[in-house]
Subunit: 333 residues, 2 copies
């Protein structure tokens, strides 16, 4: 390989909103695979909300990225050289190469994907980590039952869009929450949610209340803040809140003060944070089923694809601000 | 019976702190037991934080008390007349007669207690509903494991004192939180907690942090507010918070804004509200074991006993303000 490697490393720990200057582009020689190893070229990089946590120097569910380290991230990659009998040059694999063009892997964590079954990029979204996240949150954490009343925030996003559609497939009534009329229209008309409430519109709580006349049994939480406070007022006894994300807090300099937490007691709620990587036993079944449903057209999705690894910071920041529509990806090669 | 009945009924729904004028003393004729019924005379009335919720006109875990209705409450009663073959005059029973001197019962919900085994009043505290509440919170909700790090708020109270002692019996390290030096000394010296932090003293969080060098696996929550925010900062991954009470909110005119709820996600906590009456399957084993441990001196307790039903409002309000020490009871007859 004569091509150079390109990496985006963490330059600063952000205070409040992430800046593009918090990342630094670095060029190095292309790594060489040793015995049993493969060289991967990144085709697509997934940018996801959880990455914001990794940039902070606080104890959290996973190791932070150190200053000067390559940013972590899920990728779709092509095997370009192989010293591993399990892989051939030209194979496409899901991997965790991070924000860089080339990486060497021992092959252990690579998952071969089938470009014939569904579009490649779906393996980073609906049939990938975000889809499995929705699956684990609904079925493992919330123990969703048929016919329940479900609310999903960030409903047009990579995880929320799958969570709502899975709940519909389970026979539930599903109300989404999203920002702006376009996203709300998409959530109802294309994804098939029963309703979708625009949190940016006036009378958000009144609209949410009208859309949940039988209350809320399961709230799939991606955002936190005033939206969480509003949904808490609608919770039914024995409701469950799988806490998948709290994106409104990730860039806040002052935390939001959650007012309606008394409902935890009065409604005997179960509120539980989770991270999908801690449920490895769920991945094989979930990925298999999600891929099939994508292939059958039962799970729909939309993507925003940004061109060029150098634009990954901009794509990431836009995603944190909700500027993307559906799954945010970066086309690297 | 020529004795008159005396009842305390709800006169007003309180705004903020309960006032004595929110209750009204009413005298009526003594009721007469019909076929299969017994007439009970109240010996002791238990006043408990949950009663504050029943005074409000909001949806909650249990039916509200209507204006003019007798206040609800657990009691120890003596059978004074019986048309029921299961009971003899002179029997002592645990019941739910509420804030009144006499009541007629069909006997179905009466639990006979043994005055020889332990002191009668313990059946309203450590070997009664508060004790079972501690049991359910720790073992059913939190799934407490040996050797875990436990924090209990309202540690000298009826529920908290049992929760901490049960956790000690399970081989855990237990830190209490209580108001004032006297209560903290009692919690450590008499109840045997490892440490107890005074939330009224300066440097509360610093002291809590020092007392929980290995973090907190289970936080038995009775109070909410800034104390909950402080303990959240100490939670370990996969920590559990059984939410038994949020007494700081019950009389608040403005809810407290909970700042550290992000920890639900970062530490993958399970936060769950519960009410002990919804765990009927746990009561027989819990009551049996709790009574034995009281008899063996393994569970210690303290009581504040107020004389006279007419003083129940004052006793109740004092309990809500933390003026009592240990289980608050009212001696009625």
């Amino acid at each position: 390989m004569t091509d150079k490697n390109v990496k985006l490393v963490l330059a600063n720990r952000p205070k409040g909103w992430v800046q593009e200057s918090d990342f630094k582009l670095v060029e190095t020689d292309c790594p060489k695979p040793g015995e049993g190893e493969v060289l991967l070229k990144t085709l697509y990089l997934s940018v996801d909300p959880y990455m914001r946590n990794r940039m902070d120097d606080t104890k959290s569910y996973s190791a932070k990225v150190e200053i000067g380290q390559v940013m972590v991230g899920g990728t779709l990659s092509e095997v370009v050289e192989s010293n591993n009998p399990r892989f051939q040059p030209g194979d496409t694999v899901a991997s965790n190469a991070g924000w860089q063009k080339y990486v060497v892997s021992d092959g252990k964590e690579l998952r071969r994907v089938d470009p014939e079954l569904i579009p490649l990029t779906a393996y980073l979204g609906t049939a990938g980590m975000p889809g499995v996240t929705a699956w684990v949150g609904l079925f493992e954490i919330a123990q969703l039952k048929e016919g329940e009343n479900v609310v999903v925030s960030a409903a047009s996003g990579a995880v929320g869009s799958v969570a709502g559609q899975l709940a519909k497939l389970k026979g539930c009534r599903v109300v989404g929450i999203a920002g702006g009329k376009d996203k709300c229209d998409y959530v109802v008309q294309e994804l098939g949610f029963d309703e979708c409430i625009d949190y940016k519109a006036p009378d958000f709580y009144a609209n949410l209340k009208k859309a949940t006349p039988n209350g809320v049994d399961v709230y799939f939480e991606n955002v936190g803040g005033p939206i969480l406070d509003a949904v808490l007022r609608q919770m039914n006894p024995f409701g469950r809140i799988p806490v998948c994300g709290l994106i409104s807090e990730y860039n806040a300099t002052e935390p939001y003060g959650l007012k309606n937490y008394r409902v935890f007691l009065t409604m005997r709620l179960r509120v539980q944070g989770f991270i999908v990587s801690e449920f490895p036993q769920s991945w094989p079944e979930a990925l298999d089923q999600l891929s099939k449903w994508v292939a059958e057209g039962k799970l729909k999705y939309r993507e925003t694809i940004t061109e060029g690894l150098e634009n990954a910071p901009k794509a990431f920041i836009g995603m944190l601000k909700g500027e993307n529509f559906g799954k945010q990806l970066v086309k690297v090669s």
